[in-house]
């Protein structure tokens, strides 16, 4: 699992790749927390296009990012969600809380 971040004019894009399970989630949360605290973005985009597997640990990662962005009064959008992850997020009803594009 890898996280790479680019920030441009307080719009932070975090690209996740690999398998997003409990084993990887802690590392991702630490990386995202650090980037958000450093850049104080108005908008956070999480790109999941290169994620090959997700379970409920992915839900916890997105909910945490959502809380962080609410705290900063910014917005979160999640893009390029693969079909396996989409099924997991739908089962949890995550679309009611998080903006998927």
């Amino acid at each position: 699992m890898a996280v790479s971040c680019i920030c441009d004019q307080r719009a932070l894009t975090a690209t996740l790749s690999g398998e997003l399970d409990h084993h990887a989630a802690k590392h991702i949360m630490t990386q995202l927390d650090g980037q958000i605290d450093r850049e104080l973005p108005r908008q956070l985009t999480i790109d999941m296009g290169a994620v090959t597997f997700t379970d409920s640990s992915g839900i916890a990662v997105l909910l945490r990012a959502h809380r962080q962005m609410c705290r900063l009064e910014g917005e979160l959008r999640v893009v390029n969600v693969p079909s396996q992850a989409k099924r997991v997020f739908q089962a949890a009803g995550l679309g009611r809380i998080i903006r998927f594009e």
Binding site: E19, D55, Q84, A92
Partner: protein
Amino acid sequence: MRTKAENFVTLDFPSRSSNEGFARTAAACFAAQLDPTLEELNDVKTAVSEAVTNAIVHAYPDTIGKISMKLRLHPDNSLEIVIRDWGVGIADVEQARTPMFTTGGEERAGMGFTIMESFMDTLRLRSVPGKGTTVTMRRKISRRPGAR
């Protein structure tokens, strides 16, 4: 008419988080004998990942303990998955299955059982505090036209 012989496998492994990926991949390899679609295979992987993660996070919070995964093929083309631990157990199994309920703090979403239930056909949860927990799940794999 001959029915397909049952097949089974048992895997024991320590509750290290690096085994989450191993367990779901092993389950998918075994399930491949039923000629599942990619979506069915992903559903099995996701449910196994949830059950094994629960055992790692909740059954053995401060220690490394044994997790056992049994996989069994049934003649009706279904896969049975039994994931067992000998950890702390769950006092209230109904509460544990409630969406959003977690004792795992901010790192967990409390959606593990919700996902296992929606991706599997049946789920049985048995637990004795201080003795351990057994999750039994079953999922029928569709027979595809043109398959054996």
